[in-house]
């Protein structure tokens, strides 16, 4: 991992965090409406996974997808404008928070019906396999979503036909208010893949380097033609399920405990100048992490001012996104009809 990449990780995690915090503010102001599911706490997953992808890989996501879109490179202004329901939004104001689409960047959508992402992903995977392309599909889903029938049906087909799909479970341990032990007979999601002989791994989803390493490895296997893989990232959402949900069902000690492992803090620690003890280095384990740490020390990549500078930069980006969204025009009903009949090639049917 080089400096550019290390700092890119940090930038994207920070952007994800600040963007979402700003979304909460804009929701309170009434600029964003509807269901708004925020991502703080889970940034290491989006960043670790998507940075391991090629731009030609496809991404399929859920309703908690703003940060997936940002990391994928969908301009922050277009994401924010979509949340504002504006024509300049990536779904032209028709989709909103839960339905971000950017076909150009192969961001194939946010889906709001739990369990829909798998069939869409295997469809894309089928096309890739049929044409024998070197691409892959990333399919995001939550822990609550593994109890939907489509999970089992899609994993079976993916394994049967060796489809190039990486299933990524963002296990934040809750399906709205129901804790995983109360909704899953097998709370270790990765073990479920065994039923379909899909190789699976569980990683610390609060550690961006570990997520990145695991994703790279899985994608390598997929590109080598071995069929689907599953990655379970253990993570935690710091907020409630959505802006409509304060999340009171979670014991405060639990929330506090998870905040101690804030992925941003962890990432920053990796990049800090404090020299680690040999024990810490040994405990840190993965190569990439050691390399990054060592590299940062040797090069002095990041110091206090450098980080402050990065924060300012991200803050400006988010500010610009909000400005763009505020100034973007409203869509018209004609825009809506055009969106509905976008594939009619102008044919008018009465």
């Amino acid at each position: 991992m080089d400096k550019r990449q290390a700092l890119a990780f940090l930038h994207d995690m920070l952007l994800g965090r600040r963007f979402e915090e700003r979304c909460a503010e804009e929701y309170m102001k009434g600029n964003i409406a509807g269901f708004l599911h925020l991502y703080p706490g889970e940034e290491a997953v989006a960043v670790g996974v998507i940075h391991a992808c090629e731009t030609s890989d496809y991404i399929v996501s859920t309703y908690r997808e703003h940060v997936h879109a940002l990391v994928r490179g969908v301009p922050a202004g277009e994401v924010m404008a979509e949340l504002f329901g504006k024509r300049g939004g990536c779904s032209r104001g028709m989709g909103g928070s839960m339905h971000l689409f950017d076909p150009q960047r192969r961001f194939m959508g946010g889906y709001a019906i739990v369990g829909e992402t798998y069939p869409v992903a295997i469809g894309l995977g089928y096309g890739i396999a049929m044409k024998d392309l070197p691409e892959a599909v990333i399919c995001f889903f939550g822990d609550g979503a593994v109890n939907q029938g489509t999970f089992h049906e899609s994993l079976n087909m993916a394994a049967l036909w060796k489809l190039p799909v990486l299933f990524v479970c963002e296990n934040n341990q809750y399906a709205i208010g129901t804790e995983i032990h109360r909704h899953s007979a097998v709370p270790e999601v990765y073990k479920r893949a065994a039923a379909y002989r899909i190789p699976a791994e569980r990683v610390d989803g609060m550690d961006v380097l570990e997520v990145h390493r695991a994703t790279e490895h899985a994608l390598q296997q997929i590109r080598a033609g071995s069929g689907p893989q599953l990655l379970e990232c253990l993570t935690y959402r710091f907020r409630g399920h959505s802006m409509a949900d304060p999340g009171h069902y979670r014991p405060p000690v639990e929330v506090k405990a998870h905040q101690q492992t804030d992925p941003l803090e962890l990432a920053l620690r990796e990049l800090s100048l404090v020299y680690p003890t040999p024990e810490q280095i040994a405990a840190a384990g993965p190569d990439a992490l050691l390399k990054l740490r060592q590299y940062c020390f040797d090069q002095g990549h990041l110091h206090e001012e450098g980080f402050e500078e990065l924060e300012r930069q991200v803050q400006d980006e988010v500010e610009a996104a909000v400005q763009f969204a505020l100034e973007a025009p409203e869509p018209t009903l004609d825009d809506a009809w055009q969106a509905l009949y976008c594939n009619r090639r102008g044919e008018i049917l009465i």
Binding site: G85, M94, S97, M98, V114, I176, L333
Partner: protein, 328 residues
């Protein structure tokens, strides 16, 4: 004695009384237990009746609705909450192929005391996958009852009647009505669950509506009255079966009918009502029945556009004027 309550409270009270009276009544659905239900309808019931009778389910709509079918076959009275009607699409096999068919396929030998409660409708900027009603889909299925309460009293009555009956009943609730207030008299004797009511008498035209549109039709009628047009407002209360007699009697008085629905116009409930009333009252009508419905478009996220896709009070008033003018 009537007291003022919100619709969710009326539903909650009905469930509480049903569960207290009969141990065979149980509730299942996502987040209905510890969390108390997304719209608070099951609040407090988990603490009172325990997890076997108020069961938090995994996100597995088709299977837990099917579980309700199985339980009903042995005479239990399951009340399945499908968090919103949009997710009921995943349970259509259990609802249409099982709940509606098994009693029939068994030659009438099996009860189906299954109640499915599910909120729907266009709420506030929830976008296309979270803003729809499916009455058109369900109405076309023989063997299902569909009730669409618009007041706390009806919500209370109809939920109780649903759970006590041996038929599968879908209670289609409206997300924007849960916090509507109205009188509830738990001791008042209920009319049959499918009986339509005339909410307001009038002589110039009949407004036929249901659920949230019945509330809007009432508001439109008041506006029309100030403008010298007396609209009779019918709240259907049930979409399967439909109480045609109440509609026919009204048309005999007013000779004009405007049907208001929130769902898409094409092949919707309004189409059925218009066609049927035309057959039944052709000679009484001074104009073809008129339909006011949602646009044939998925619900856009943008708030301004969203409002433009469904009938508003102003639209009902304008359509009523058109119909009255056309017919005179």
């Amino acid at each position: 004695m009537a007291e003022e309550v919100l619709i969710w409270q009326a539903l909650n009270r009905a469930l509480d009384e049903l569960m207290a009276a009969d141990e065979d009544v149980f509730i299942l659905g996502e987040d209905v237990g510890l969390y108390g239900g997304s719209y608070r309808v099951t609040e407090g019931l988990y603490a009172k009746y325990g997890e076997w009778r108020v069961r938090d389910t995994p996100i597995s709509e088709d299977s837990f609705t099917g579980l309700g079918v199985g339980a009903a076959l042995m005479g239990l009275r399951p009340v399945v909450e499908i968090m919103t009607v949009n997710f009921a699409l995943l349970a259509l096999d259990a609802i249409i192929n099982m709940a509606a068919k098994v009693p029939f396929m068994s030659g009438g030998r099996l009860p189906m005391g299954l109640t499915i409660r599910t909120p729907g409708g266009v709420a506030k900027q929830l976008a296309a996958q979270h803003s729809q009603r499916l009455e058109h889909t369900l109405m076309n299925v023989p063997g299902l009852r569909i009730v669409v309460p618009a007041t706390p009293q009806d919500a209370y009555w109809q939920l109780k009647q649903a759970v006590l009956s041996d038929e599968p009943v879908i209670v289609l609730e409206h997300e924007l009505l849960y916090f509507h207030k109205g009188p509830l008299d738990p001791t008042a004797p209920p009319p049959p669950p499918h009986r339509a009511v005339v909410r307001r008498p009038g002589r110039d035209l009949t407004l036929v509506a249901y659920s949230k549109m019945a509330v809007l039709a009432g508001q439109a009628a008041e506006r029309l009255a100030e403008q010298g047009i007396e609209a009779e407002v019918i709240d259907l209360r049930s979409l399967s079966p439909i109480d045609w007699q109440t509609c026919v009697d009204s048309v005999a008085r007013t000779h004009r009918v405007l049907i208001v629905e929130e769902d898409c116009r094409f092949a919707g409930a309004g189409a059925e009502i218009a066609a049927d009333l035309t057959e039944r009252c052709f000679t009484q009508l001074e104009a073809a029945p008129m339909r006011l419905a949602g646009l044939d478009m998925p619900t856009p996220y943008n708030g301004t556009l969203e409002a433009q896709t469904i009938p508003q009070v102003d639209d009902i008033v304008a359509a009523a004027h058109r119909l009255v003018k056309e017919a005179s």
